[in-house]
């Protein structure tokens, strides 16, 4: 990134660097999109000809469920919180649907899964909003509780499941018009609601307000517990929807299916410019952050490293990108 700064005449180099910096600060999407473009080009260099319509479809299909999980992190991080229970809640929701679909049908199974998620979110919200438990502890504890409950359910239900129901599988893993995954049908309306909701609704503004300065929000009459309870319920419901898509995407029924996506979901929000301290960021950046992580992940796979090496590299890259991005866009 720093190479860009040297374009001006050398006499003005420092000034130019400052100008770039302020540009990045005001338009954080520019460096993000530039990074995404570089990664796409690198992907094409590593395996010439790979980047095409089919590749785009594969990337989008992998990115959509992660983007929904990252939405949970974006929303909670705006208030200065975090939701680490999304992995457990998503896995649980997917598993509940698969285990119930034969006995009660798909719509009812989805409703049951959403209700389970809602309860988890409600408890999270009450813990964080009313009892002021730190969100990290609250949601981490909740993820254990949900995992345990899901395990219990797994033991109780005889394994009569016929596997992932076809509708869910289509939604999670099929594409239409050669490129576009069906999951976009779920994702696009959700994304529009989140993007508009953050900008144009009172509730969205309150998320920023509570995260930026809880004292100011309180003095202005906001009751932050109401905001937080609703927030963690929304987050858990989004996680459940992501869980359905993950189940369809992987065609697997497991109570720990989505666990490995929790860190990337946090990283995507951070890379996308949402401050973990609250008050700053948005979902647009998060979507680009998800795409960046997805491309990096596929790039590592195409390099042919074994799984263990990929995990090490992926973790290291997430930290490095997040650190570099924070440096470029922050004013100090």
């Amino acid at each position: 990134m720093s190479g860009i700064a040297t374009t001006g005449p050398s006499r003005n180099r420092w000034l130019t660097a400052a100008a770039w910096r302020s540009l990045f600060r005001d338009r954080p999407m520019i460096p993000l999109l530039a990074l995404l473009l570089v990664l796409v080009i690198v992907s094409d260099i590593v395996r010439p000809g790979v980047v095409g319509t089919e590749w785009v479809g594969i990337m989008l299909r992998a990115a959509v469920p992660l983007a929904i999980l990252a939405a949970c992190q974006t929303l909670t991080m705006l208030t200065g919180g975090i939701d680490l229970s999304v992995g457990a809640v998503a896995s649980m929701a997917g598993f509940v649907v698969i285990s119930l679909v034969l006995s009660i049908g798909l719509p009812a199974a989805i409703v049951v899964a959403l209700i389970c998620a809602l309860i988890a979110g409600l408890v999270n919200g009450i813990g964080v909003g009313v009892f002021k438990v730190h969100p990290l502890i609250m949601t981490l504890g909740m993820s254990l509780v949900v995992l345990g409950a899901a395990n219990f359910w797994q033991i109780q239900t005889v394994q009569t499941s016929s596997g992932v129901p076809p509708a869910i599988r289509t939604l999670g893993s099929d594409v239409f018009a050669e490129v576009l995954p069906y999951s976009l049908i779920v994702f696009i309306p959700l994304a529009i609601v989140i993007l508009v909701g953050l900008r144009r609704t009172g509730y969205g503004r309150l998320l920023y307000a509570v995260g930026d300065n809880p004292v100011a929000a309180r003095l202005s009459g906001a009751r932050s517990w109401q905001v937080l309870v609703v927030l963690y319920i929304i987050s858990a419901l989004l996680a459940a929807i992501a869980g359905f898509l993950y189940a369809g995407y992987t065609n697997v029924a497991s109570v720990s299916l989505v666990d490995s996506a929790v860190l990337p979901s946090v990283a995507a929000a951070v890379i996308g410019g949402t401050s973990i301290m609250g008050g700053r960021g948005g979902f647009g950046g998060t979507i680009v952050g998800v795409l960046i992580l997805t491309v990096i992940s596929s790039l590592l796979t195409s390099l042919g490293y074994p799984e263990a090496v990929r995990q090490v590299l992926f973790g290291a890259i997430i930290v490095a990108v997040a650190a570099a991005y924070t440096r470029v866009t922050d004013q100090t």
Binding site: G202, R205, L206, N213, A216, L219, A222, R280
Partner: protein
Amino acid sequence: MTSIASTATGLLLEASGISKTYGAVVALKDASLAVRPGEVHALMGANGAGKSTLVKILTGAVRPDGGTIAVRGRERTVHSPAEARHGGLVSVYQEPALIPDLDIRSNLRLTETPIEPFRHWLAQLGLEGLDLSSMARHVPLASLRIVDLARALASEPDVLMLDEMTAALPANLTERVLEVVGRRRGGDSSVIFISHRLIEIAAVCDRATVLREGETVGVVDVTEGSEQQIVEHMLGEAASGIAARTGAAGAARARVADVKPRVAARSLASGARLHDASFELFAGEVLGVVALEGQGQDELFDVLAGSERPSGGELLVDGNAASFRHPADAIRAGLVYIAADRAEALLMQRSVRENIALPFITRLRAWGLIDAGEENRKVDTAIATLQIDTRAHGEVRRLSGGNQQKVTIARWVAGGVKTMLCFDPTRGIDIRTKSQIYVLLRDLAEAGAAVLLYTSELKEVQLVCDRAIVIFGGRVVAEIAAADADEPTLLRAAYNLRADVEMPEVVAAEAVATGTAADAAVAASIAAAATSAVGGPSSASAPPAGGDAPEDAP
């Protein structure tokens, strides 16, 4: 010239020509302080005179823009509090400087304080029973301050600086502290003593340096009647230049006689500092609140704004009893609060628009889609009313202090104001914005709003208010009409001095007659100490309740 003088006179500490500006605000212009060995030296000044800045500079917490500091004739630059301590200047602040999760002994180890001298001083200060292995967080606040003082004394400082050491100490401990401080006179080391209580100054201090508007305006030998001199120095000639707006104020006062008050407080109490505040605030007036720091005004505003629940007393809004559990309740009752600390009130990373519109969206029914047209109209009107400079469209933190303060006010003006509670709204902002805020507050009152204005700048009272109440020691002690509220009157009232009362003994006697037993004990002991300190003859007006007074005054 300064360094030559200091070597010649054998001063222990000499600061001269100290200046410091924060942006456009001049905190210190030309402050000086000369402390002789063996004296207890008072540092005085009204709020905003630059006292705390000078203290921070002396202790190395803040670097001065100009001026010199010499210790025992040698000029030195102090970069940090630790360095200052090393150089023999040790301070004890209002807030105890102990780590709450360590026991007392470990805290002492952190500052390399020798234990035996510490125990000695602790005993001298009346806390010999303290268990050194108890966690600092479990020790009561008053005892912690004594621990802080004993620790400072144990390190045998050349100059000991006590910043409001006695504020909120119970009577018996105050007495011990004054005793110990008084006994240090005549030795090799010195004490810089900062207190709002003139009777304490009279009791233990030899000389007083008075700051006003960032300048040292006088050094007074503390003797009988020197309180008047100190107060005059603090005031200067500032009071004479202001024309009071008596006409409008008189009309407003005449009007309120037969009207129900918008807000009425009856014996409100809250926390450790607010004991008994009673007053009435009427629609159409600006009521000033005058108090020295820490007299309970913070607690009063917290109660009125719904941030804290009162521990006693009654609050009536439009004649109905009100009980606020949350600021939202106060806002619904029409009481809106403007904080002095803008960091407390603003969303620093958000835009001016979002900050002003914040109160519109806090209620559940406003959580849905925002009516952009209506919001724009309200926000634009508020921006125009307050003349907010919105050239920096982005984050509020990039605005100037004055513009930030206007945003906090605009937030409430945008929605229509019934009762506005302003806590020192002009603190640290430029003079032009100040006058705009004065005009705005007057306009709001003319339009029928009730405005309660706490101000640390006494001259604001005659500029803006119709009348003022004075809070001292958690009680409303006086009500003064704007026409009479010149600075000397207000300052005397703020120090709880009557125009006809000058001598500390008399103050003490009065406290015995009217105050509680605890107050009386302090006042009596201080008066006793003062008598001998000033060197005057033992007065015949010694308090009748003198049984509580110590016999061993220094």
